[in-house]
Symmetry: C2
Subunit: 219 residues, 2 copies
DNA sequence: CTCCTTTTGTTGAAAATTCAACAGACATTT
DNA sequence: AAATGTCTGTTGAATTTTCAACAAAAGGAG
């Protein structure tokens, strides 16, 4: 586990837990590391949620696919970020989302029953872990609200602008890469891909933005 | 506080906390009770999040209003349910939502700094509170996913059907009341009100549903 | 009961999205 | 270098939503 220490130290779950305690805790939690190819489904919709995931390298997508096959992308998570924590903590018997490898990636899996049910009174680190989990879910909720702010707009152009404005704010720059190709961006914004392409074209002509591939610049 | 005990015992924040401990804790947390008229804005978008709210009587709406005045309703919360917990816990300096009284209502407000920063190592109930807060946020995240499942549909009819199907499941019956009038339902589903009315009319004619005011029946 | 306000249903026209199909650009593999 | 597959932009037609305006219905206050 030592090779992942630098990544794990940045993980919000382990905030304010010392290195040696962190390593001991991982043993106590029976943490496992697994490797996945790009596009591999790490957790599948409909299955029970048992594990909390932590991205160690690469990135993952959290997606919802409905009855007709329409995909919604809910989030992209990079190294040291956590996924499926809410479902694991709520102990749901059917995941409402899938988690898919966005690149070849390594993931740490922690059986959530160890987090919720074991030794919760004995171990000090454990209390800190619960606290960190709560903080993490709070910030995830805020991420959700940002996404809703974007997707609640009624037109493709408004959604795109809301998204780009948010990205610009996060990158603290008018020039940035987005983590999506066109189809993925459409599935994040919940619009039609071809309509999105057309809209991007129009906005370029109107001098609102410049793009090349994943790179966007607001003007 | 005693008069609210029965409501508070059902509140997920106080799960597995004994009555006398609960009352003592409320003192320790400096909990206050306030009363609001219908439509009063309890928390306003843009202000710092300081308090966790608990509905004691009546109900509240959590809403997002964008630059152009378009309203999105995110959730309706009834007695013993919690609101603004995620923003309080994340200590955001600008609330991304407003909370509005849906009826005349009583609300308990708890300064979240008391929850997060004080006596977290001394008091046993406090550890339970943090744990409950984590559980509560996990279940809120699941509610969010349900809403996304509804609003990610592309047509008014699909959104409405997805919503009604979910309600039927929750009520365990094909016949139920919804907590919205038509405008509010439109703002929850993120569609146009007049289009929604028209769609409901069509679905009645096609024999898919029956309605009278807030009451719906799936056929 | 009557007046007044709010809510709901209806309509038609304008605007936007979706859908399917295709062609060019690009990257990768053989 | 050729072949293959994926991604992107473009188009036009069909569908759907939005918008504004109005009328009918329901509810509340006096």
């Amino acid at each position: 586990m030592k090779k992942y220490l630098e990544i794990l130290k940045k993980c919000p779950l382990f905030y304010q837990i010392e290195d040696e305690n962190l390593l001991r805790m991982l043993g106590c939690l029976d943490a496992k590391v697994e490797t996945f190819d790009k596009k591999y489904t790490i957790f599948a919709e409909g299955y029970p949620a048992k594990y909390i995931g932590i991205v160690l390298s690469g990135s993952v997508q959290v997606v919802q696919v409905d009855y007709y096959g329409n995909r919604s992308i809910l989030s992209i998570l990079n190294a040291s970020q956590v996924f499926a924590e809410a479902f694991a903590c709520a102990e749901v018997c059917s995941l409402p989302v899938s988690v898919v490898a966005n690149d070849p990636c390594e993931v740490m899996l922690i059986d959530c029953s160890h987090v919720l049910h074991t030794c919760s009174n004995h171990c000090d680190f454990h209390q800190q872990l619960i606290f960190n989990l709560m903080k993490d879910m709070a910030s995830k909720t805020i991420m959700f609200h940002q996404r809703i702010e974007v997707t609640s707009k009624r037109t493709t152009r408004e959604k795109l602008m809301a998204y780009l404005a948010l990205q610009a704010k996060e990158h603290d720059s008018n020039s940035f890469d987005i983590p999506f190709d066109r189809q993925e961006l459409a599935d994040y914004l919940e619009v039609d891909r071809s309509g999105l392409s057309a809209e991007i074209g129009k906005m370029k002509k109107e001098g609102m933005i410049e793009t090349q591939k994943n790179h966007f610049r607001l003007l």
